[in-house]
Symmetry: C2
Subunit: 351 residues, 2 copies
């Protein structure tokens, strides 16, 4: 191939692909037999199978997915609809999902909606149209029309990163509230009395909502409260959470312990402290959730909560596969979390 001056390309001629008919002709059988060799080999004579398989290999035959999906009403595609790829957490979960799906001969279709429930619905509709068999979503809270759509089209789905307390929707996750509850209790135990919270907007994000609630519950139990000015909401980004932390640092009565609803918020907070010369953990303790590399490699290392990142992905994939194949499977799974105590937390300094 010679490089043309403009170096442009157009689509190559499509569809030299061979069909079941071609295979049938070469093997001297009918297309029905070809189909059976692929889908129900036990119904076909061993010698005939050999002939067909040979033809398949020789012609590099790959069954036409669309035709197959059209006729059989199944596409072997599973959709994963997540808020964002950029947060490492979801990347790792979907990675685990894909491994399971791939091993079972399914493909994964991945899409992100940037924390916009309307976009989530729109994207899911599109995927349903593409014939995606089943879905995995993040979080418990979604547009009611989403569930209507899935019900309407008979598509199994699983919600992840939370377990539906009403037991209405199949779901796999851990107890978000209990996690921050435990973390806050730990901080109270260290002697902290004035707290701050760096959170994602709770609108349409039940993980953030629950995590905030867990913190408030622990404080209430200890007779403490979370002052309004000590709560900052913002998007999941280091820059945003650093800005949020700056506001907390500017308060007259500054918190001595700040909880981030995930590691990104916590690390953003750490950045703001460094810039302001506020020492961690001497002047302020900071905690995150998810126990990501980002937090673990900070100086000091971030105290966080190990969430079942990989386990959730694997379990979600297993559940949808089981349901697609008509097998029984637990619809609700609560997986464990674990506090990971590191250098970003300590007793508050007396002064």
């Amino acid at each position: 191939m010679s490089a043309t001056p403009t170096e442009q390309v157009t689509a190559p001629s499509r569809d030299k692909r061979s069909s079941a008919k071609d295979v049938a002709r070469l093997a001297g059988v009918s297309t029905a037999t070809v189909s059976r060799v692929i889908n129900n080999p036990e119904q076909v004579d061993a010698e005939t199978q050999r002939l067909v398989r040979e033809a398949v290999t020789k012609l590099r035959y790959v069954p036409h997915g669309a035709a197959r999906a059209l006729r059989s009403h199944r596409s072997r595609m599973v959709g994963a609809v997540v808020p964002s790829f950029e947060y490492a957490l979801y990347a790792r979960t979907t990675s685990a999902m894909q491994a399971v799906l791939d091993a079972e001969g399914y493909s994964m279709v991945l899409a992100e909606h940037h924390y916009d429930l309307a976009a989530e619905l729109r994207i899911t509709k599109q995927l349903v149209g593409h014939g995606v068999d089943a879905f995995v979503f993040v979080g418990l809270h979604h547009d009611p029309a989403l569930f209507a759509l899935l019900e309407n089209y008979g598509r199994p789905y699983v919600l992840t990163w939370g377990v539906d307390p009403m037991r209405q929707h199949p779901s796999i996750g851990f107890d978000n509230r209990a996690a921050t509850f435990a973390m806050t209790q730990h901080l109270i135990g260290l002697g902290h009395r004035r707290f701050g919270l760096l959170s994602a907007p709770t609108e349409g994000n039940d993980r953030a909502t629950e995590r905030g609630a867990g913190m408030r519950a622990a404080l209430a139990q200890a007779g403490l409260a979370l002052a309004d000015e000590c709560v900052q909401y913002g998007p999941i980004s280091l820059a945003a959470s650093a800005a949020m932390m700056r506001k907390l640092l500017a308060l007259e009565h500054r918190p001595t312990a700040v909880v981030g609803t995930n590691d990104v918020f916590a690390v953003g907070g750490m950045i703001a402290c460094r810039e302001a010369g506020v020492r961690i953990p001497e002047d302020i303790s900071i905690t995150g959730v998810d126990n990501t590399d980002l937090g673990a490699t900070q100086t000091p290392a971030l105290t966080s909560i190990r969430t079942p990142i990989v386990e959730v992905g694997r379990a979600a994939a297993e559940q949808v596969i089981a349901r697609l194949e008509g097998k029984e499977h637990a619809a609700f799974q609560t997986l464990p979390f674990e506090l990971v105590l590191r250098g970003s937390t300590a007793e508050p300094q007396k002064n």
Copy 2:
């Protein structure tokens, strides 16, 4: 007396979905017109369009993707086949891709192959079977059978994160070799003479190969060489790269500057230094590639190379869409990179 045989319980209707026929009936037109309203609205009378659109909304009609793909030979799905979701870099690139694809009404199918070219081929074959229209791959080096497959089935594709010097395969990326060349020159300029390299295995990974080559070229130009014992290969993970760095630290004649082929290697190296009480940058300078948050938030912050993460994804999506739609589009694009100098590099200490 009619003996009713075993009572047939109608299975929970899996597919209550409405078809073009239902829409046509409700709107009082033919299915052909329904199809035209969706695909070529300019051919249909405005009033008829309104009727059809109304029926579509009322019936919650979503066109059947498989049927559509079967007949029209286009599925409007683009496959992104990446080494791993877990490295933040690919997550961000695919995120940018999906944004463009979504805006143009395409869906993205994402799959990972864990740096295994055979798995890459297998997965791609499966996706071709599912009717995926076009592909985006990472890296220039792939199984020849992959290109044969794509050619055979007439599927446009783009390679990313490198630009094919032979101009054989459409590709979008930056000059990996030039990037580490520039970085190494910078380190030489600071006064470093003994270098270390933390790299991904070069097998099937041309990015790693090129980045190593760029470093060696810069050294050669300055009359320096990279000692064999100063080069460590391993998987992309903090634990692995920390172990690799420990080997470098154990050398009798320890390097004063260590280049990581990406930020994960560099940060892993930083971790090992911290553990060993080796000061950065006083005792050793460390650099990465990709300028991720992970590196930028370390103490000291990592010197790195800003690579066109988002731009590559966007450009790749734009190219495959253009080619699918028969438009002309530049097949080769070299995007710029930029050195980002921070606290992890300094002049070597005289002693």
